[in-house]
Structures are given as structure tokens and as C-alpha cells.
Amino acid sequence: MNAWARFRRNRLALVGLALVVLLAFSALLAPWLAPYDPTRQSLIEKRARPGAKYLLGADEFGRDILSRVIYGARVALVVGVLSSAIALVGGLLLGVVAGFAGAWLDAVMMRGLEILLAFPYLLLALAIVAALGTGTLNTTIAVGIWGVPAVARIVRGSVLALRETEYVGAARALGAPPPALLRRHILPNIVPGLIVYGTLFMANAILLEAALSFLGLGVQPPTASWGLMVSTGRDVLLVAPHVATVPGLAIMVAVLAFNLVGDGLRDALDPRLRGSV
């Protein structure tokens, strides 16, 4: 049975996939889907309750929350995809080098990674943001760098394990140069795991972007970021709870979607990964 057939039998994974497609559509078609301009203010209608005119209500500046949630999908997905790319490419490079180089270079790199992994969750990203400054691009870079050490460690582990396999040993004995070994024998075996990890990382990247923006250290106003929307809603939480809670639902749905797809991919691509990724 191929991977897609296995994936298709997993109902939760399909729900996740449907949600991811929905998110992608709202990100791509935001200008056509959103009923209003996400930055259009209407101060007399500030904090409007959900109703016929504003389906999900209006925020502190009278901006339509539904439109901002739709546009927010853009920020979440763009930051998520780009930071995942940074984490995967950076981690792949470092992991392959460490795994192949062996000896002292490997030891030095692993100690370095251990130091980065010794930062409690979020704190490394906070330190990077403190250095880079806020804004969408810097948030993306911070989230991406935050993801590099874990990817590098996974890749290095697989490279070390694969190097010991008989077919890689045989290819090496036959005189295959390292780049060919890498391309033909090592990478094809690492990629499924990386696809799974990358999907699950998307979920974490969206959470982290939201968290940084919530703290005021990520995406800056007036850009419609879900985390930022929760943060502005927090000031009026007790008089208009919908302003903060509705955008948070969008974050949860997006994160849930990528978690479901990631779990489904893991079970479909390589059931042995269960529990390890």
C-alpha cells in the first residue's frame, strides 16, 4: 500500500488536510474573500459584537475581525513556510556536515547544538528577536533559527545510522564519492522524516509567531497577525471578549491542522517514526 493510500484511510489526517487547504485558500484569496479592508477603521463601530454587518464583530478600532482573521492566514502561513524552510535547510546542512565529518568537527558542532538546545523553549527565539528587532521578516528569521538545532540533530542521527548500513558501505567500497553517496543513498532516506518534521514544525512555527506577536516582539501593527490581534483584544477582554478570543481560535485551528497532517504523514510515510518525531 502506498503512502497516499495509507494517509487517505486516516480520517483525522484528512480533516487536517482539508483545514490546511482552507487556510491556503484564505491566504491566497484574502482580498476577494474578506468582506472589508482589514485596516479600514470605523471608530463609531468599535468593539461591535458579532452580527449581520460584522460576522465576527469588530475590534478596538472598529476593524472587521473576520477580514483580519482571513488576512492573518497570510502572515501565519508565510512566516510558517519560510521559517520551516530556514530550519530544514539550515538543519540539513549542519546535520549532514556533522554526520559526515565525524571526529572533532562533529564533536564541536554537537556541543554547540547542545548549548542552543539548552535554551528553554521560546527563550532562544526571544534572544534572537531581542537582537534582530521586531517585524515580520525578523520574526520569520528568529523562528527559523530557533528550529535549526533540532533539525540538525535529527539529520545527524540519521546520517550516522545510515553510514553504518551495508548498502552505504558497499557503495563506498565501490568508490562512490561523498556527494553521490549523499544524493543517492543518504538524502532519499532522510527526506520522508524531514517532511514529517517540517509539517509538525509548521504547527510550532505558527504558535511561536503568534506568541512573539502577542508579546509585542513579533509582527507589528497594523499588519493582521493573529497573535497581535489577541494581544490588542486583551486590553478590552472584560468588555468585549470576542476581540481577543476569536483570532485565538484561528491560531488553534491552524496549529491543529498542521499537527493532524503531520501525524498522518508520519504514520503513512514511515510508521517506525511513531514516537520519535
Binding site: 548549548i115 535554551f119 491560531i251
Partner: protein, 303 residues
């Protein structure tokens, strides 16, 4: 044990190095921020010299490490108080919060995970697994706000924020614990399910050991090893989550101090706060490593 402790030193040195190096590239200048935009060049230069910012990076790094080794964390730029004093004011609140969350997460997570494993594919198992999926996907700062709306605004049972009494602790601790409850429940379920398939469990059952004892003495004790590893990692999650939870609930801890330090570009305070977090994380994982031996005599002390 002593070797392990010594191994933690280079990690902490590295953490300080990384933080100082990242902050070194800070675009906003702490000095300009302190003196305002219209400060004379002369005044800026003087203050830089006073703070030691004119020296090369490595000199400053070694200088800082040397002073930290003697217990001097410097003075915060904003408040001009010893950083050690600011940290000492803040850390008990964070400790209280994270320990409470860790207790909730461990008890609730293990209980739910064991129940799921004992009755797999039951209604409870289904609900617990669905719940943990949501628990892992909810942004923690949003969970906190939703709990405030429900328990403070609608039901009026618990205070909105602040610290001081046990009743103030309930909402922040539950908020912080939820993602970890989900994670621990998931892990416990699969670990217990694995152990229940083992031969020694079948043997124990065959010789007539009661189901409760099988669970308590054979299944849980063996399943605890992966759970323990996870607890060590979760403590890092909890510290990061504490930054968010403290912000949501106006909890006067290290996390809030750190965010304030970032906004104020108070890098000396920030360095100190990160150092305390990293130290706590390293110590917790050291304790985790040492307790493996207590749970499983085979692991012993050789590692």
C-alpha cells in the same frame, strides 16, 4: 554526579556567550535609549565607557563571566539596581507558578494517560486523545484569556490576575499546565500500552497478581522512564510558557521581567534572566538524569 555537574558549566558558559553575542547585534542602542535622542555625542561616549561597551566583545564576555563567577551579575540599566536583587525578587513567583503547573501536568497527564491505556479505544480514551490534540494546539496565552473570560468574567469564581494567594495561582497554573498535560497524557498512554504487551506483565498476571498491582508495580514503573525524559523536556516548555502566562495574568515573575528587559533594551538584566532560566533547565535535566538510576537499577551510575 560531580562529572555531570562539571559538564553543565560549559553549557552555561555557552548560553551566556550566545546571548551576549546576539545582544551585541542589537540594532536599538541601550545607551541612546537611556539618554534620549538629543543626547550629546560626548555624553553617549561617556556612558558607553562607563558601561564598558567600548571594549571588544571577548573582553566583555570574559569580564562578565568572571564577575558572574564571583556572584556579581551587574546592575540593571533601567532601574540601576543590582540584577541579582531584581532576579531574587522575581524568581520565587516563577518557581511557584512552574512547580504548580508541573504538579498539575504530571498528575493529570499520567492519570489520563494510564486510564487511556487501560481502556484503549473506549469513550474516555477517544475523548482524552481528542482533548490532548486540542491541548497541544491551543496557544497558551489564548487559553489563559479564555479561562479568564469563563472563570473570572462569566462565573466570577477566580481573580483576573495578580499574585499573592493560592486562589490567584489557580488560573495561571492550569493555563501553563494544559499543553504539558496533553503531551504527558499522550506519552503515558503509548508507554503504558507498550509495557502492558511485555512478557513480564503477562507472567505477573498469570501468577495471579491483581490488576492494580500489575499496573502500579510493573507497568507504571517501567513506563516511567520515557515519561521522566519528557518531564525534563517539558520543564523547558513550562519556562517558556511562563513568559506568556505571566504576561497574561500580570504575574510578577522572571518571564515578565525578561519581556520588560527586552523592551527596555536592558541587556544586563536580560542576560541575568536568561542565565537563571538556563541554569534551572540544566539543573532539572540533571535531576532527571540522576533519577533514571533510582527507577531502573540497570541504568546504574555508569552513564
Amino acid at each position: 554526579m560531580i562529572r555531570r555537574l562539571l559538564l553543565a558549566v560549559p553549557v552555561l558558559l555557552g548560553v551566556v556567550f550566545v546571548v551576549m553575542l546576539t545582544i551585541d547585534y542589537l540594532p536599538g542602542d541601550a545607551v541612546t535609549l537611556m539618554l534620549g535622542e538629543h543626547a550629546t555625542k560626548d555624553a553617549v561616549a561617556k556612558l558607553r565607557e562607563h558601561l564598558g561597551l567600548d571594549k571588544p566583545f571577548l573582553v566583555r564576555y570574559l569580564d562578565y563571566v568572571g564577575r558572574v563567577a564571583r556572584g556579581d551579575l551587574g546592575r540593571s540599566i533601567q532601574q540601576n539596581r543590582p540584577v541579582a536583587a531584581e532576579l531574587a525578587d522575581a524568581w520565587p513567583a516563577t518557581l511557584e507558578l512552574t512547580v504548580a503547573a508541573l504538579v498539575i501536568a504530571t498528575v493529570a497527564g499520567i492519570a489520563a494517560g494510564v486510564a487511556s491505556a487501560v481502556w484503549p479505544n473506549s469513550l474516555f480514551d477517544g475523548l482524552a486523545r481528542l482533548g490532548s490534540l486540542f491541548g497541544l494546539s491551543m496557544p497558551i496565552f489564548w487559553t489563559g484569556l479564555v479561562l479568564i473570560v469563563v472563570f473570572s468574567l462569566w462565573l466570577n469564581w477566580l481573580p483576573v490576575g495578580g499574585a499573592g494567594s493560592l486562589i490567584h495561582l489557580v488560573l495561571p497554573a492550569v493555563t501553563l499546565a494544559l499543553p504539558s498535560v496533553a503531551m504527558i497524557a499522550r506519552m503515558t498512554r503509548s508507554a503504558v500500552l507498550d509495557v502492558l504487551r511485555e512478557d513480564y506483565v503477562r507472567t505477573a498476571r498469570a501468577k495471579g497478581v491483581g490488576e492494580f498491582l500489575v499496573l502500579a508495580r510493573h507497568a507504571l514503573r517501567n513506563a516511567f522512564i520515557p515519561i521522566l525524559t519528557l518531564l525534563g523536556l517539558q520543564s523547558g516548555q513550562l519556562m517558556g510558557g511562563a513568559v506568556l502566562t505571566e504576561t497574561v495574568f500580570a504575574w510578577p515573575g522572571l518571564g515578565r521581567l525578561m519581556v520588560k528587559a527586552i523592551f527596555a533594551r536592558d541587556y544586563i538584566l536580560l542576560q541575568g534572566a536568561v542565565l537563571v532560566f538556563a541554569l534551572a533547565f540544566v539543573i532539572i535535566n540533571l535531576i532527571v538524569d540522576l533519577s533514571y538510576g533510582l527507577l531502573d537499577p540497570r541504568i546504574g551510575r555508569q552513564g
